[in-house]
């Protein structure tokens, strides 16, 4: 347990201290969302219609931005070998790193999404749904992304390979995340969407740490 919390706290500290990670991700997220009204024009009806999709797509891209750093630094500086030799099973180490990644990126993304929703003139009733959908869905983004980040360790142009690998896997959370907000706007129940989103995150939680750990073992050899 000391090892798990130690790793979680170190990764979080690094992400917050190096400023880069959290600030960069949030900055990208806000800018990407703001660009849409500029490009499409300030037509409230259109923005209301596509606002949830814009926020979700921007969140996916922003989460992607920091993924290549998830294991890369540890891989380069030998820290990964220490993790592999530590008392913590590699699967739990992946989980600790994903948790730190989510707290440093996914959580702040979700928390500022209501302000962006106001910017896009989303219906007031849709804003809590957007927030909850992001809170439920973004952990899956970190977990799924960890598999791709581990698989592409040491690859040339890792960032590009990673994007191509991981974006198709982000489709299910995107569909049900943006879908939940649209459902609320249409007056349909959002419960089913949010439950499926939670199920996706739970499935990622059950599967991804093992897949990532296996990929990391390959990378260390």
């Amino acid at each position: 347990m000391a090892a798990f919390t130690g790793l979680f706290r170190r990764d979080l500290r690094l992400a917050l201290r190096q400023g880069g990670d959290t600030g960069l991700v949030l900055g990208f997220f806000v800018l990407a969302v703001v660009l849409f009204p500029l490009g499409i024009g300030p037509e409230p009806a259109i923005l209301q219609r596509i606002g949830a999709g814009i926020v979700w797509v921007a969140a996916l891209l922003a989460a992607l931005l920091s993924l290549d750093r998830l294991f890369e630094a540890d891989y380069q500086d030998g820290g990964l070998e220490l993790l592999a030799l530590s008392s913590l099973p590699l699967e739990l180490a992946v989980l600790a790193k994903c948790a730190a990644h989510w707290v440093a990126t996914g959580l702040p993304l979700a928390l500022i999404s209501p302000f962006l929703a106001l910017l896009l003139d989303l219906e007031p009733a849709a804003i809590p749904v957007l927030l909850v959908s992001l809170l439920l869905g973004t952990p899956a983004l970190s977990l799924i992304g960890s598999v791709a980040a581990a698989l592409t360790l040491g690859a040339r142009r890792q960032g590009v390979v990673l994007s191509i690998l991981v974006l198709p896997l982000y489709v299910p959370p995107l569909v049900f995340g943006a879908g939940s907000v649209e459902a609320s706007a249409a007056g349909v129940g959002v419960r089913a969407y949010l439950l499926i989103l939670a199920a996706l995150t739970l499935a990622a939680l059950a599967f991804c740490p093992w897949a990532s750990a296996a990929a990391l073992r390959q990378a260390i050899e």
Binding site: A2, E81, L82, A84, S86
Partner: protein
């Protein structure tokens, strides 16, 4: 890479791996650390093969490789506390051990600087400090003296001597002279493997 290498390491024993660049010193150390699996042959800990209890074997060893694993954004104290946590030591309860380790390698004055300010030798000493911070039976050291000056090499040699006195085992790969006390020697030779049996101690 190499064949016919065989040795046993009793309590308090030491082993020096030498050989030309590329002869497999690092590979042998990584093999001993269970980071890679041998193509043939086996690793025995006590009376059982290591595979029988990999976690138990790993818990008893320290591996200090070429790379220091030091994060530029953390301080030496935080780095060491994290490494101790990785070995299951609660950092808050292990404060004295942490201070001792920093002191052993003369890192007290830089303990709260960000590691990006440290020199290569200081980073190296920080990596070595984890040997002292979290006790382990076996130390596997890959070129531990690289970037160390004379005084700090003596600090390392003292730490190794103290470790051996307490019954610890040391395997050192080095191509520069290092005094680790009476030790067995394994000479790895690229492309012409020589079976070299060394009884340590």
């Amino acid at each position: 890479m190499f064949t016919g290498v065989s040795f046993r390491l009793p309590a308090g024993g030491a082993l020096l791996l030498t050989g030309a660049n590329g002869s497999g010193k690092t590979s042998l150390l990584r093999l001993l650390a269970t980071l890679i699996a041998p193509a043939a042959g086996k690793l025995v800990w006590g009376s059982a093969p290591v595979e029988a209890d990999v976690a138990g074997y790993r818990a008893g060893l320290h591996y200090v490789g070429h790379q220091d694993g030091v994060k530029p954004g953390l301080t030496p104290r935080e780095t060491l506390a994290f490494w101790m946590a990785l070995r299951g030591l609660e950092a808050s309860r292990a404060e004295p051990a942490l201070d001792t380790a920093l002191h052993t390698f003369a890192l007290d004055t830089v303990a709260d600087w960000p590691c990006r300010w440290l020199s290569a030798g200081q980073r190296r000493r920080l990596a070595l400090a984890r040997l002292v911070a979290a006790p382990a039976l076996i130390w596997l050291l890959d070129e531990p003296t690289s970037a160390l000056d004379r005084d700090n090499q003596i600090r390392l040699e003292r730490a190794i001597a103290a470790h051996r006195d307490a019954g610890g085992r040391v395997v050192v790969a080095s191509h520069t002279p290092i005094d680790i006390g009476p030790a067995g020697v394994v000479v790895l030779d690229a492309f012409a493997p020589t079976p070299d049996h060394a009884a340590a101690g």
